[in-house]
């Protein structure tokens, strides 16, 4: 019997990049649409109803660790917002994840598709410094988790520290706002995750209950720093209450960027628990013609293994901010479980 030849990861990456070239056509489409009042990355307003529709999409191919290569139309997220310039506004993000997938052992399929309500909340504006939020929202820990959409981040794979030690979503109530301190912007948020009723479709690794807060301060025109705190019980580990503190910093000058996040989670009330520290440092350097060089170092303590270390080197092509092509390679030690070695290529668009 003739042995079936499987394409190699490099061939797949190349093929997908070629496939993604069709999306260049979307630039022309966007230019046409711009003349009709639509701009890529701004959504589409439905008349004067206050409703706006938009979203983002992410197509990815990766060959990581010992796993076969895999192609996924990873996220197709739809934003629905309503804002009539009154004291109440609404926002929801509905996501179809793994919409299309294919891999070395599977032809194109939609069988992994699943739908999630990533976020849905009402904001009630109380005064110029205070807003009350009710619903499901992103957990305000660090910088990456709050802006994790593929078109807004520089790599196709998330840093471990941006998601491993806490639930990326919370469902409950939040007070948040912005004020001036020493003529600089200070953002704050305090929240409580109180119920599953608000979040019938639970995210991965969800909170059972939690409370926490975050403060971000624009230290200089170019430097933003933030600290986060959370105390929580995870749904899969209901006997363990843990606390987490985080620090994040983002420095930007022109198109150069350096960012870092560090999170520390204590062992909580678990006798055999393990406190864990994770973090990353990432730099972005602009190159000619809308290309960017991205490099990242990550270190992460983990439950089952020694401390993992990985380095990521990649290129990103951003012809305009709502569109990005990315190609990256990740290599490390003690990283098989959380951030395996391998190549990832992706295309993302905010629409």
């Amino acid at each position: 019997m003739r042995k079936r030849r499987h394409p190699r990861p490099a061939q797949v990456v190349f093929a997908v990049w070629m496939l993604l070239a069709w999306s260049l056509a979307s630039l022309a489409w966007a230019a046409d649409a711009a003349q009709q009042g639509y701009r890529l990355g701004n959504g589409y307003a439905l008349g004067n109803s206050g409703l706006r529709l938009g979203g983002y999409s992410d197509i990815k191919v990766h060959a990581l660790g010992a796993d076969p290569w895999e192609f996924t139309a990873d996220d197709l997220s739809l934003f629905i917002s309503w804002d009539k310039n009154g004291p109440i506004r609404f926002f929801a993000e509905l996501e179809s994840a793994d919409t299309f997938s294919a891999s070395e052992h599977q032809s194109f399929s939609t069988r992994n598709i699943h739908f999630e309500s990533e976020r849905f909340y009402f904001d009630g504006l109380i005064n110029d410094k205070l807003t009350f939020r009710l619903g499901k929202f992103l957990t305000p820990i660090g910088h990456w988790n709050l802006l994790h959409a593929a078109p807004l981040v520089w790599t196709g794979q998330r840093p471990v520290a941006s998601e491993n030690l806490f639930s990326t979503h919370a469902a409950g109530a939040m007070l948040h706002g912005t004020m001036l301190v020493d003529s600089r912007q200070l953002d704050y948020a305090v929240y409580g995750d109180v119920t599953d009723i608000i979040d019938p479709h639970l995210s991965d690794n969800p909170f059972k209950d939690a409370f926490g807060g975050q403060v971000g301060y624009q230290w200089t025109d170019n430097l933003h720093i933030g600290i986060s705190f959370a105390n929580f019980v995870l749904k899969d580990h209901v006997d363990e209450r843990k606390s987490l503190v985080g620090f994040d910093a983002l420095w930007k000058l022109k198109k150069y960027e350096i960012s870092s996040e560090i999170v520390y989670r204590n062992k909580g009330n678990e006798a055999n628990g393990k406190a864990m520290l994770q973090g990353f440092l990432q730099s972005v350097t602009p190159l000619p013609s809308h290309w960017f060089l991205v490099s990242r170092y990550e270190a992460f303590q983990q439950l089952q293994d020694k401390t993992g270390h990985v380095g990521v080197i990649g290129l990103a092509y951003r012809p305009s901010p709502p569109l990005v092509w990315k190609l990256e390679y990740r290599l490390g030690v003690n990283n098989d479980a959380l951030a395996p070695n391998g190549l990832t290529a992706s295309f993302a668009v905010l629409f």
């Binding site: 004291p87 807004l152 912005t178 001036l180």
Partner: protein
Amino acid sequence: MYRNLVLILCLVLAASFRSANAEPIAVVTSASSPLNHLSRDTLKLIYLRKIQLDEQGKRWIPTNLPLASPLRNDFSLSLFSILPEEQEDYWNAQYFHGITPPPVMSSEEAVLRFVSSTPSSIGYVRKTLVDARVKVLLLLSPGTKP
């Protein structure tokens, strides 16, 4: 040596000439608004959509001019020290949270009309265009690219 000195002198004179001719930017609101003044820092947060309510509890409606407008450039450089197109990353991030940039008016006259008839709206025009329909909350010097 003398040639360099003359060149530097010319550049200094050119810079002075520009600032002498640069018309102040007037940040305006409706003439009937109870507000009489805005600080520069507060204005910044209003245009970043970080402050959403005014002192009366009504929603701020900041307005912009088109990207191609030289006054939009001057306003952005004066307030944020960056060009309008350099804010696109910021607005993409805000869009991810359901917040959109200030609406764009087609001209300074359109700003004056909109602001004069829409409570809690603000906009900016050249100082010489200010008339009785609006009141000036703040004067900004046109910014220059750092």
